[in-house]
């Protein structure tokens, strides 16, 4: 059932990132359809944020391999910086985890948004100002005219994150990268911000990659989930497949740690992610896997379709020699 509507907006192939001797991303392959929301989930060191920063070409001092084809733009990893500058903020934009430190403390939030609008869209000062007020209104900022002259520190964490969403969406990007946009916020504010990002991207027909650590939140907000462990994709597919018909032991473990209200039993997994110097050459989860076979540590399992005959890039895939 592949048609034009599911044309990928982004195709990542064999993205690897090396920092010194450590391979912090290992041949990550994934694709994102137009209008789709995708969650990258996993624990610290899984490489979720690295993928987003690599796509924005904001990774410093790291060696990046592989390709990231964006529809109508080419390979994001190979474009000259001059063209990348034109893409950032216009077709591709990012919401950072900590809005308080991502915003510039010495300019008012109004000025920061107006700067983006004027530079990227070439609006006049007056046009940019009225567009900025519209944007602030659309992201739910009360008294938008008054808030234009506020400095970031005068706003609460939730308000700062709304400002950031407004800046990221200012130029109607085709692809939005949201790096744990709510992890520093209270739960009721988290619900507000996630709903806001989803509503804004959907109404614009934009695609969105959420970096999340909360599987339950991922299931509520995203069409598909990619599970990462120590820089490798271990499982990817539609949210329901990942959470209810998962094949990889790590996905199962990650899900069993989620505490919903009323959860009285959790199985805490053993151990921690090994340091890069001790990373197995094959499947990186092998050292902690309850189902590991002798071949797992030495031979990396390829991503394979979970159902026979389903080989589309958007279908359920997993990488395991001894799946559930």
């Amino acid at each position: 059932m592949k048609d034009m509507a599911t044309q990928p907006i982004l195709t990542l192939s064999d993205l690897s990132v090396h920092r010194g001797a450590a391979k912090i991303l290992d041949r990550v392959t994934l694709s994102l359809a137009e209008g789709e929301t995708l969650a990258l989930v996993g624990e610290s060191g899984a490489g979720k944020s690295t993928i987003a920063t690599a796509l924005m070409r904001l990774l410093d001092g790291a060696k990046v391999e592989g390709t990231a084809e964006m529809a109508g733009a080419g390979d994001l990893l190979a474009l000259p910086e001059r063209q990348m500058v034109k893409l950032r903020g216009r077709r591709l934009s990012m919401i950072f985890q900590d809005a308080g430190s991502a915003l510039n403390p010495s300019y008012t939030v109004g000025r920061q948004l107006i700067t983006v609008l004027r530079r990227n869209l070439g609006l006049s000062k007056a046009e940019a100002r009225s567009r900025a007020i519209e944007l602030f209104t659309s992201v739910g900022i009360n008294d938008p005219e008054g808030r234009m002259t506020a400095y970031p520190h005068q706003l609460s964490g939730g308000m700062q994150q709304r400002v950031m969403v407004a800046i990221a969406l200012a130029c109607n990007p085709d692809l939005l990268l949201a790096d744990e946009p709510t992890s520093a916020l209270d739960v009721t504010i988290q619900a507000q911000i996630v709903r806001l990002i989803l509503a804004q991207t959907r109404s614009r027909g934009a695609s969105c990659i959420f970096v999340l650590h909360d599987l339950a939140l991922a299931s509520q907000s995203c069409d598909r989930i990619v599970v990462l462990y120590a820089g490798q994709v271990v499982e990817a597919g539609p949210s329901r497949d990942i959470l209810e018909r998962h094949r990889h032991p790590y996905t199962k473990q990650l899900k069993s740690c989620v505490l919903e209200i009323g959860t009285k039993d959790i199985t805490a997994p053993e151990g921690t992610v090994p340091p890069h110097s001790e990373m197995p050459l094959g499947c990186r989860f092998a050292t902690r896997c309850p189902r590991a076979l002798p071949r797992c540590a030495g031979e990396a399992p390829p991503l394979q379709p979970a159902r026979a005959g389903a080989d589309g890039p958007l279908d359920h895939q997993f990488a395991c020699w001894n799946p559930e």
Binding site: E43, S44, N142, S156, G157, G158, M159, D186, V187, T188, I189, Q190, A191, Q192, V194, R195, L198, H213, D214, L215, A216, L217, S219, Q220, S221, S239, R240, L243, Q253, L254, S256, C257, V258, L259, E260, I261, G262, T263, K264, I266, T267, A268, P269, T272
Partner: protein, 346 residues
């Protein structure tokens, strides 16, 4: 036989006064008046706690839940005797907390604390062994000769590797650092453990490991646990009772399962709805943000955001009052009022 010994050693369930009892506790800070002129010294009172009522029995496990600005940390400082409340009474086993704390080391030994920033609470120049031995020596828990053995025991109890004693905090992961903080807290053989966001900011698997550890410690040692968290999932896993705070007041308390299954306060209901649940659509969140405590809404402090607010909510400030078995709520129109009445008349 051993079982009966243990049981006779432990105080019976209820005859003693509760470990902590807060009666109408108020904490007012004096802050610069907003909008005052540069040279003005005008101040206004900010009530960080306002009419807090809470009782924590021996062996209870209580989750203190609320969003930023709800007064959790101020309440914690009052419980630990670090600040005297500006109004009301704060009692530890029937005596004022400040008094209990001033007299000898008994209070400090009995009430142990695990801080939110576990790494920051540990001296980076001390090895884990020394860090854990410090409270042992301070409170004179074991003779010097048995110190190393006790440290090893504690390290083992909190699930750290045996060689951890010679390591420094900088060489430990976030989860391990929290285990060290727990071991230090347990060293003085306390009966009360107060933990401030002890599992927040960790990966889910590390969080799961620590939560299973805390639950087994609480059960095996009969600890009274006061656990501050913003995560209702954590609260419902670890604690039998819950107290939900909003803007300096406890708005609902009771058994965790009952409160979360049938919240009586609209704020508890909103918190519950906002917690992530698999495949549930994200519900309409509460409008706006927590108001400034300098500018409290008239009447009920939640009325400005409450989806069920009625006219009298903006006139009368509801106090925490009994609402069914073991539960209390500060709301003029509790959500389950009709059901509660029905069950009472039956």
């Amino acid at each position: 036989m051993i079982m009966s010994q243990i049981q006779t050693k432990r105080p019976a369930m209820a005859p003693n006064p509760p470990v902590f009892e807060l009666i109408e506790v108020e904490q007012e800070f004096s802050v610069p008046k907003p909008g005052r002129s540069l040279l003005s010294r005008e101040t206004v009172g900010l009530k960080a706690l306002d009419g807090v009522r809470l009782s924590i029995a021996q062996g209870a496990s209580l989750a203190l839940v609320g969003e930023s600005g709800s007064g959790k940390s101020t309440l914690l400082r009052v419980l630990l005797g670090l600040d005297a409340p500006s109004g009301g009474r704060a009692l530890y086993r029937g005596r004022p907390i400040r008094e209990a704390r001033a007299r000898g080391t008994g209070f400090a030994r009995d009430v142990a604390m695990v801080y939110q920033d576990a790494r920051g609470s540990l001296d980076p120049r001390m090895t884990v062994g020394h860090l854990i031995a410090e409270p042992l020596r301070h409170f004179d828990i074991v003779p010097k000769a048995e110190e190393a053995a006790r440290v090893a025991q504690l390290i083992d109890r909190v699930g750290l590797p045996t060689d951890a004693a010679s390591r420094y905090p900088s060489g430990l992961s976030g989860g391990q650092v929290r285990r060290v903080a727990i071991a230090r807290a347990l060293a003085s053989e306390p009966s009360v453990l107060v933990a401030d966001e002890a599992v927040s900011g960790l990966d889910v698997s590390t969080q799961a490991q620590l939560l299973t550890l805390l639950r087994s410690l609480q059960r095996d040692m009969g600890l009274t646990l006061v656990f501050i968290t913003h995560d209702l999932g954590v609260a419902s896993y670890l604690c039998e009772e819950i107290a939900i705070m909003y803007l300096g007041r406890i708005v609902e308390t009771g058994p965790t399962d009952a409160v979360l299954e049938r919240p009586a306060h609209p704020y508890s209901a909103a918190l519950r709805a906002a917690a992530p649940r698999f495949f549930e659509p994200i519900p309409e969140p509460l409008p706006g943000e927590i108001p400034s405590p300098l500018d409290l809404p008239k009447g009920c402090r939640f009325s400005s955001r409450c989806p069920a607010a009625q006219d009298d909510c903006r006139l009368r400030d509801p106090q925490l009052g009994q609402q069914g078995a073991g539960r209390a709520v500060a709301c003029l129109h509790p959500l389950t009022s009709t059901e509660a009445q029905a069950s009472e008349t039956r």
